[in-house]
């Protein structure tokens, strides 16, 4: 592999323990144990830096504010997102696994219920992440956005299912039951 120019890298700088926010328009982005470190990209090689950049841009465009936390105790997306929602000032969170599977959650919903679910990680690209961010910000402002259009690909299973299982197993290995969630600052560096 050659090092291409213009690639963005993501560093998650720890700020402190993840605590409950107070700003009513806040969206929490809740990251899974392997997101950003040790993994750097989704199942279809979308850099995690790009995922975060697009989510943040989508939230900002709609006048929202974002806070990012990293969860270590579980790799269950519903649990990660619901935990994030409980810490969110608005009650809205975007939960995301290292491989890219994403959900928009709300603290008053049951854990296995949610606002919008994007189960097919291979179909999520920069554009979709931006729309997800934008919708999350609108939910946080008590607006009713049109759900992000779902994509379907009947050949995703033969192409990606086993890699998804492998990535899931790897993410499981990053679970640290003893480590509480932390608030992080995403630092995106562009390599030119």
């Amino acid at each position: 592999m050659t090092t291409a120019t213009g690639i963005r890298t993501l560093t998650l700088r720890e700020i402190g323990p993840a605590e409950r926010g107070t700003r009513p328009e806040e969206v929490v982005i809740a990251l899974s144990p392997a997101f950003g470190d040790p993994f750097t990209k989704t199942i279809v090689d979308v850099p995690h830096a790009e995922v975060i950049r697009q989510l943040l841009a989508g939230i900002e465009e709609q006048g929202g504010v974002a806070r990012t936390i990293k969860v270590y105790r579980t790799a269950d997306l519903a649990a990660i997102a619901h935990f994030g929602a409980k810490l969110s000032g608005s009650g809205i969170a975007v939960g995301i696994l290292a491989r890219g599977t994403t959900v928009v959650h709300q603290r008053d919903l049951a854990r296995l219920s949610n606002l919008e679910l994007f189960p097919q990680a291979p179909l999520l690209d920069a554009e979709v992440f931006r729309m997800i961010g934008a919708n999350a910000a609108q939910y946080a402002q008590s607006r009713s956005p049109r759900p992000v259009p779902t994509r379907n690909d009947q050949m995703a299973r033969p192409r990606w299912q086993a890699k998804a299982a492998l990535l899931h197993l790897k993410e499981f290995e990053c679970i640290d039951h003893a480590r509480a969630a932390v608030e992080v600052e995403p630092v995106i560096t562009r390599v030119d």
């Binding site: 050949m155 995703a156 192409r159 990606w160 299912q161 086993a162 499981f172």
Partner: protein
């Protein structure tokens, strides 16, 4: 990026033209991964699987595959207490694995003998036996141990728009083409009552005796079955590790209870399981996919259900990606049949981009015959398949019919002339139109009936008023509409023959014939099951052979040159 784009180039080293051509073959769109046995990402040969063992004390199994009773998880307990024959297990376990494998292959050993021996084996011992068998030997075994003599097939009938008219028309076509069972599922779950009615009515138009089901969350599925709007159920998932069961808030006992709820109303049902699901969910507990699937098979047996849908089903991408995975899937089907269960052997769910690979996974089972060769051949174009696509779809009908004719094998289908298909599709749509009118559901227009007659996919139908339909669906449930109500409506609206077929399906519920292992109906409502159509294969010249009327039917294809007049085709 999607699943049909080539992989990004990762090397700047110049490749040969041949490599470039190979790189662009569909098979290279498939996903492949290395084995990781410690986590269960391995098909069937893992050092982490337990060694076979059994010990009985006071008529109770106290040791199973290296664990003593105090170490049992709830799967071990359920299997030890309900699935293994305590009286014969010590003797059965003492038989050499290679001897048992030979018995499975040898046509001179009767099915009854090998099934009886199987009742005394533990999961690790069963794995030890099938690990010795190559894929041809597995199919030799399958030919003998499948429970029903006559093979059959099952179709998916779904709509990307949840359009009940499309489902009815495609169900009628699938029925007349020969499928014995039809299943549907939804994009928008609230549409279920209307789509289930469409499936049932359409299914009874093509021919009598087709069984239908609507795959949903368990409570609604059971409700539709109890009402007689559907006739069977098969999406009762079971898993091979305690941790995955617990994740789903289930236990072997809760699933057994659900099974008994169906049985109490004469509703045919089977469980669903398959290799790869536990590793997919991250809880394989370090066991191979096939070992865990064998535990599922014994769980199904212990719960007393008549059958199992296995063959990896929705996790097929996982065994498909590891070495020997498709052989393991074939072996799991063999074990289900050997354990005397009806086996719907998979071959559904999109499995590969490669036509050659898709066919080679299917063909051994098509040749040996299984109770249902596909657990869902897509009876609609794959883009309308709400089970996320199938290994085969409507575009493959003529290929399937030709393979049956080439090899003189019965894959459960037949070629049907265009005029018959159009007539059946039209009649199904009109029958549903009448049912909707009588039940005050949102009208089905003549334009929709016309579209259904000639359509291929959901694109070819006028859009429905979805909100009005959902309101109608809700009212069907609230008014307590039952299968018997639908029979009356069909009778009143001039579809007496469809009503008669539907009534027969409901009457069979009372007789309980559908609870016999591997039960299906002939077009004349004669139940065919392991009890009256038992597989009697005992070597060349025995068992199910394609001959007589059925063979004449399968000789027909879309284009066959007349021997008498070579300038014409036989119609």
């Amino acid at each position: 990026m999607t699943a049909v784009e080539p992989r990004p180039q990762t090397s700047e080293v110049r490749a040969s033209k041949r490599t470039e051509i190979l790189e662009n073959r569909p098979v290279n769109l498939d996903g492949f991964v290395e084995e990781w046995p410690e986590k269960g990402l391995v098909a069937m040969e893992s050092d982490f699987d337990p060694q076979p063992s059994i010990r009985v004390e006071d008529g109770r199994i106290v040791e199973l595959d290296g664990r003593t009773r105090d170490q049992f998880d709830f799967m071990d307990t359920f299997i030890a207490d309900h699935a293994i024959d305590v009286d014969t297990c010590e003797q059965a376990m003492a038989t050499e694995s290679v001897e048992i494998a030979r018995m499975l292959v040898d046509p001179r050993t009767s099915r009854a003998d090998v099934v009886a021996l199987g009742r005394g084996l533990t999961p690790a011992k069963i794995l030890d036996v099938v690990k010795l068998m190559n894929v041809v030997e597995i199919m030799m075994g399958m030919q003998k141990v499948r429970s029903r003599r006559t093979p059959a097939n099952q179709a998916h009938s779904t709509s990307a728009k949840d359009n009940p008219i499309q489902v009815a028309a495609d169900a009628a076509e699938a029925a007349v083409r020969g499928f014995a069972e039809l299943e549907t599922t939804l994009g928008v779950l609230r549409y279920a009552p209307l789509v289930a009615i469409g499936l049932q009515v359409g299914g009874q138009v093509g021919r009598g005796g087709v069984l239908t089901q609507c795959a949903l969350e368990e409570a609604t599925e059971l409700d539709l079955g109890m009402r007689g709007i559907t006739a069977y159920a098969e999406t009762i998932s079971i898993y091979g590790t305690e941790s995955v069961f617990v994740d789903g808030d289930d236990t072997p006992w809760s699933k057994a209870f659900l099974a008994s709820a169906y049985a109490s109303r004469g509703i045919k049902m089977r469980f669903t399981s398959g290799t790869g699901s536990e590793v997919q969910m991250g809880n394989a507990e370090g066991r191979s996919m096939l070992f865990l699937e064998i535990r599922c098979i014994l769980m199904a047996k212990g719960a007393g259900v008549q059958g199992l849908q296995n063959g990896s089903i929705s996790c097929i991408g996982v065994p498909g990606a590891v070495p020997g995975g498709i052989r393991a899937v074939a072996a799991e089907n063999l074990v289900a049949s050997w354990m005397d269960l009806e086996c719907a052997s998979g071959n559904d769910q999109s499995f590969s981009h490669s036509a050659m690979r898709r066919t080679s996974r299917l063909v051994p089972q098509l040749f040996s015959g299984t109770d249902f060769v596909c657990s869902g051949y897509s009876g609609v174009p794959n883009k309308d398949n709400m089970f996320a696509g199938s290994n085969l779809d409507t575009e493959d009908y003529d290929d399937w019919n030709t393979i049956q004719r080439d090899m003189q094998v019965d894959g459960g289908l037949r070629h049907v002339r265009e005029d018959v298909i159009l007539q059946m599709r039209n009649k199904a749509a009109r029958a549903l139109q009448a049912v909707f009118a009588e039940l005050d559901l949102p009208a089905i227009t003549d334009e929709e009936v016309e579209a259904a007659t000639y359509a291929d996919s959901s694109d070819d139908y006028p859009d429905r008023d979805v909100l009005a339909d959902l309101e109608g669906a809700r009212s069907v449930m609230e008014r307590g509409v039952t299968g018997l109500d639908l029979v009356k409506v069909l009778e009143r609206s001039g579809f007496g023959d469809v009503a008669e077929n539907y009534l027969q399906v409901l009457r069979q519920r009372v007789s309980g014939d559908l609870l016999q292992t591997a039960a299906i109906f002939t077009g004349d409502f004669v139940p065919l099951a392991a009890i009256n159509d038992a597989n009697d294969y005992a070597g060349p010249g025995t068992g199910y052979r394609l001959s007589g009327e059925r063979w004449e039917e399968l000789k027909k294809l879309r284009h066959v040159t007349s021997a008498e007049n070579p300038e014409e085709e036989v119609v």
